[in-house]
């Protein structure tokens, strides 16, 4: 297996704070990888660096072995590096269907098309219909995003990322705010993604992490603290100390 | 040269005085209050009419101008402005333009459209020489008043709980109420103070810039420039901006007269392109 996404000695400081500290990390092709760590450990910051939302203080990011450190956000997306957000980021005034449609149009490279109606794109309706029913958004398909209940917003947040057909998917706490019953749904959607899609998941729900991820990295105070299979991490006493706490029996 | 710098500072202080009310209502309260000029005009008229028609000394009219416009602001806030806070910026623009139109026509109707000219007491007139620098007495007076005012306001805003409650309310009005901040009272007081400051600025500025019913429209752009260049959410920002603009304007006009009309706008665009939130911005 080869690494699709890799960082080399990545650093980021905010004022005096080292939010990311010399992180050298590899995400293998097709991996189901989780990134965990205490609050404020720098997980979101790490994803922000990968997707170009913020610029690293030093270090490199490589996608398929090629450096993308200086690349614009949208170019990274066009290369298949897609993320979801910890706090929902939706297009408030657009409906669910419109949001998905425009994302798909963008993926297919129609973004600059100024003449063809969005509804006239071939196969768009089919693709949206599938997504909408997969994510249980049928009932609210024509509602504006800002009017959706929180849980549905959360699902749309993920659906929009999936609609981009990512090769590498970075997910920042996708299950937060989703009720237990629906978590399985989200999870099964993720599981159903093609096996060559690589996923990096940030999550505090350990049940989810352990069912989903085969590999886990632990970030503490900005630095990689431990890495291993889920079994190894679950039983690592140091990880229990800083993160899992005593209540977790696995 | 030194005289020029003095003039620049004095002009900057004048700009600050005229805009500091707006720095409160727009900057701190995030309310696009284009009617700021109407309050400033009201203050100016109070002072000019009182000094010229009733002979009350100029200095004594200043607190009157402040209180009268603050009261007017307070009343308007209760009657009209209150529902505006939660509306969009565009609503606020339209609303406050409506207020300006009414003020312009109202003053024209009540006082007439002719220019009003302030007559200063003798001790504020003229000019003294200190170490070879010619200093206009009134301009020096403006600098002093302005410095005091700026320090006071900034202390209140940054040091007191009032300031942080105000900023909290602006950030998220709903949550602020939900954690017990008395948003309505806070906004009412702040708006009244902002209006009062506008009035005071108008009163102090009446000597230098011409006062007639078109005042709120004529100088609107200047107020907005100061506040946007300074950055909202503090009062030091607008103060710095005023000084920068005042100096740039005076020096620019002196050394490059042909660019005179451009200077202030070039500074505006340059600052905002480099620092979109203005000179001083909180957070990011």
């Amino acid at each position: 297996m080869t690494a699709v996404l890799e960082t080399r000695h990545l650093n980021k400081t905010f004022g005096g704070l080292k939010a990311t500290s010399d992180v050298s990390f590899k995400l293998e092709r097709g991996a189901r990888h989780a990134l965990i760590g205490p609050n404020g450990a720098g997980k979101t910051t790490f994803i922000n660096l990968l997707t170009g939302l913020i610029k690293p203080s030093s270090g490199d990011i490589l996608l398929d072995g090629k450096p993308i450190t200086g690349l614009k956000r949208e170019s990274r997306v066009q290369r298949g590096l897609v993320r979801t957000f910890q706090i929902n980021q939706l297009f408030g005034q657009l409906s669910v269907v419109e949001s998905l449609a425009l994302v798909i149009a963008e993926r297919r490279g129609h973004g600059w098309n100024m003449f063809r109606g969005l509804s006239r794109l071939k196969g768009l309706d089919r693709e949206i219909a599938d997504l909408v029913s997969d994510f249980g958004l049928d009932t609210v398909a024509e509602d504006r995003c800002c009017d959706l209940p929180y849980g549905k917003q959360r699902l749309l947040e993920i659906a929009m990322a999936i609609a981009l057909k990512p090769r590498v998917l970075l997910m920042d706490e996708p299950a937060a705010g989703v009720p237990e019953a629906d978590r399985q749904e989200v999870l099964s959607r993720l599981a159903a993604l093609p096996s060559d899609v690589s996923i990096l998941l940030i999550e505090h729900d350990m049940d989810l992490v352990f069912t989903f991820a085969s590999r886990i990295s632990v970030l503490v105070s900005g630095a990689l603290f431990a890495e291993g299979t889920s079994q190894e991490i679950a039983h690592d006493p140091r990880v229990k100390d800083v993160y899992l706490g005593g209540g977790h029996h696995d | 040269m030194l005289t020029l710098i003095f003039d620049g500072i004095a002009y900057g202080m004048l700009l600050f005085l005229l805009s500091c009310g707006l720095a409160v209502t727009l900057g701190l309260m995030n309310f696009i209050n284009l009617a700021h000029g109407a309050f400033a005009m009201a203050g100016g008229y109070v002072t000019v009419l009182l000094t010229n028609r009733t002979g009350i000394p100029f200095l004594a009219t200043l607190p009157v101008a402040f209180l009268a416009t603050a009261a007017a602001g307070g009343i308007l806030e209760k009657l009209l402005y209150k529902p505006m806070y939660e509306k969009s910026h565009l609503d606020q623009v339209l609303f406050s333009i409506g207020i300006v139109f009414m003020a312009v026509a109202g003053v024209d109707f009540l006082v007439g459209s002719q220019q009003q000219i302030l007559n200063l007491p003798d001790f504020l007139k003229g000019r003294i020489e200190i170490a070879g620098i010619g200093i206009g007495i009134y301009r020096a007076f403006l600098i002093v008043v302005c410095g005091l005012l700026a320090t006071m306001l900034q202390l209140i805003n940054s040091r007191s709980r009032f300031g942080s409650q105000l900023r909290a309310s602006v950030d998220d009005r709903r949550v602020a109420r939900g954690v017990g901040i008395q948003v309505n009272r806070l906004f009412a007081i702040t708006f009244a103070v902002g209006s009062g400051l506008a009035g005071l600025g108008g009163a102090l500025g009446a000597e230098i810039i011409s006062l007639d019913p078109t005042f709120p429209l004529k100088f609107m752009v200047y107020f907005l420039i100061v506040v946007s260049v300074g950055g909202t959410s503090s009062l030091v920002g607008p103060l710095l901006a005023s000084l920068l603009l005042g100096l740039a304007d005076v020096l620019g006009k002196y050394y490059m007269p042909s660019l005179g009309g451009f200077v202030i706008y070039i500074v505006l665009v340059a600052v905002l392109v480099l620092r979109p939130q203005g000179l001083l911005a909180r957070g990011n």
């Binding site: 939302l53 949208e74 997306v77 897609v82 980021q89 939706l90 408030g92 005034q93 657009l94 269907v97 419109e98 449609a101 425009l102 994302v103 149009a105 963008e106 973004g111 100024m114 063809r116 109606g117 509804s119 006239r120 768009l124 309706d125 049928d138 398909a141 990322a161 981009l164 | 727009l26 696009i32 009209l80 529902p83 910026h89 609503d91 623009v93 339209l94 609303f95 333009i97 409506g98 207020i99 139109f101 009414m102 312009v104 026509a105 024209d108 109707f109 752009v221 907005l224 420039i225 946007s228 260049v229 909202t232 042909s258 706008y265 505006l268 665009v269 905002l272 392109v273 979109p276 939130q277």
Partner: protein
Amino acid sequence: MGPSQHRITRALGRTRRLSPLEVSFWLLAVAVWFFLPDYHLILNEIAGFAILALSLDLILGYAGMVSLGQAAMYGLGAYAAGLFSIHVTGEPISGLLVGAACGALLALLTGPLLLRGGDLTRLMVTLGVAAVVMEIANQASWLTGGADGLRGMEIQPLFGVFDFDIFGQTACAYSLVVLFALMLIARVLLSSPFGYSLRAIRDNPLRASAVGIPVHARLVTIYTVSGAYAGIAGALFAQTQQFVSLDALSFQKSADGLMILTIGGPGYLYGGALGALVYKLIQDELSNLTPQYWQFWIGLMLVAFVLIGRERPHRALAALTRRLKGKAERSKAKEDQA
């Protein structure tokens, strides 16, 4: 096609279909032109403002960029059309295109200044740019006539046939047709993937970039299109008035455009036209009634309008459309059954 697929296609195509309300809007415009010649002049002015507001709507209503400097492109378009008629040819259509090109060019050059910052920042940067352009026009009086205005424009008859008469008959028809055409183009543009990406940027630029939309490039592009629209509005005005003054570049012009759009409602395509219609007619009527104090009543109306709720007329209109549509669909269903 499954039923939900069908529903989705319909939901997406909605903005592209002409509603009965729109059709009646244009029929009304045609009717006014034929039967109320006294309104030609003001209607011509209204159409000009409607285009200016439409140009603003493209950036504000659909891309969320607010501007107080639309007069820069408007005025440039006006001067360009004016100079073109003096120095090249008085043929109106080509003058219009020149105006559009100049407006677009200015927008393209200044658009990159608007990419950062919030509403206030954009308002002020655009205002600053417009002020600089106006000052340049004032200084270049050898070319523009400075504060006295540009003189000597002679516009040839439209298509060589329709002379621009003093009754505004040709002018009014010309402006309305241009408005109609620009409206159609805007409608197509806005229901395209490009148009939707603008709305996405308006609602959430962060997410827009995270789904691969090149936010800056899109914004500069729509700003350029908007500049072309504003340029056309200016050119149209110059041609129908056969005169350009610095007023075309003034803050007042930008502010009027923004105000009119806000009254009509940004993001509705017809907002600008409705706003221009309502505002200008009321203003005209009031200033006839009380030439000195009309501003007071306009101000009062604005205040009341905002207090009552700017969105109300739109809700009422939307409800009306829905009802009309419902009726149409029901009768169609009946036909299908028969």
